[in-house]
Symmetry: C2
Subunit: 217 residues, 2 copies
């Protein structure tokens, strides 16, 4: 939530403090990503810490999370709204997920994914359920078999990550802070996990396949 009573900087200072060009800040305002400053004259407004924080959040969503401007606006609006957190979660999930037509995934794939999630409370149109089913269709479509329980083990890893996500949410007190971490965690979590997985792949494969050091030969 943008607090208006701490505004103290002109646009040029907001730009230098954030490292974001004035033109980009004005673009964010036109796109309703960033609210106007506190107007102090016909051509001047003042900005404060809340604007600086919001600019950093927008950049995180767009540049690190890869969101479109439209998707970033949706999630920023969800943070500022007074919607229940569950709805904010749904908006964040849909904003960062490629829409998938349920008709394009096979019943077989959905059955397989639902089996992985036995006991989970997941709605039929959860974007992640459809995305996982599409991966299953793709995997089997290229002749791969799930030889080592890959899908089941990913479901176990995903449950650990989701529990960490919700614990981060629980660790915040105010509604606005909870809503922001829902969005940040949803958007940045994919990038964080894929990065750590690549590092872990190098670790695990080097343990198993690296040539032994010469002293052991």
């Amino acid at each position: 939530m943008i607090e208006r009573d701490t505004a103290a900087w002109k646009m040029a200072e907001l730009s230098s403090r954030s490292g974001v060009p004035v033109a980009t800040i004005k673009f964010y305002q036109r796109e309703n990503l960033l609210p106007p400053g506190e107007r102090t004259g016909p051509n001047q407004a003042l900005y404060g810490d809340a604007h600086l924080d919001r600019i950093r959040l927008i950049r995180a969503l767009i540049e690190v999370g890869g969101l479109s401007v439209a998707a970033a606006r949706q999630v920023v609006e969800a943070i500022d709204s007074e919607r229940p957190l569950q709805e904010t979660f749904e908006i964040a999930q849909h904003s960062v997920s490629e829409p998938i037509d349920p008709e394009t995934v096979t019943t077989d794939a959905l059955t397989h994914v639902d089996t992985l999630m036995t006991g989970w409370h997941v709605s039929a149109d959860n974007p992640g359920r459809l995305a996982a089913a599409r991966v299953f269709d793709t995997f089997t479509g290229i002749g791969q078999v799930d030889a080592a329980g890959w899908f089941r083990r990913y479901a176990a890893a995903a449950l650990l990550a989701a529990e960490a996500d919700i614990d981060e949410l629980d660790a915040r007190v105010e509604r606005a802070a909870k809503a922001e971490i829902v969005v940040v965690g949803t958007v940045l979590g994919d990038t964080l996990f894929s990065g750590l997985r690549r590092a872990a792949q190098e670790h695990v494969s080097s343990l198993r396949y690296a040539a032994p050091p010469e002293s052991e030969l």
Copy 2:
């Protein structure tokens, strides 16, 4: 690896069997994603199961994995090469990772990420290490604190997934099959995990926050 001795179909049949338009197949050939068929005349060539499998793999990489044509060509070449699997892994990792200039992440972030990966064998230029450090910079830059050990818990989940990845690799016998699952797992794994995480988020948050059913009121 494309086997030439099973070629039996004309281009039109390859198109109808794969569901991919002839123009797209010819585009794949021009882009060196798909090798030529077995030439049987000045204007005719024959194709077989290996071509069909390769077309499905290319589509999986580009359409589900979101790879560019250039990135897909790199990983397809890595599958067909006789490179050591470790190198194939590195190529797959770099192909699906946004390049990050090490100069753009802070020492603080790298130190934090390296602490998460204490005991892991990870090279300094692993693309995932840099990506995770960038998420750390972004997270702290928007004023977030890691209240519930989010990064550490994601590292634990990533290690589980990486072990599942390498077990899938171990479950294959031939070099070409191992190389293909390296690529497929690297590319599809991100999509699979993010899908399952969204479903798990709904499950965990509904357990904690959903209104109790009326019968329990």
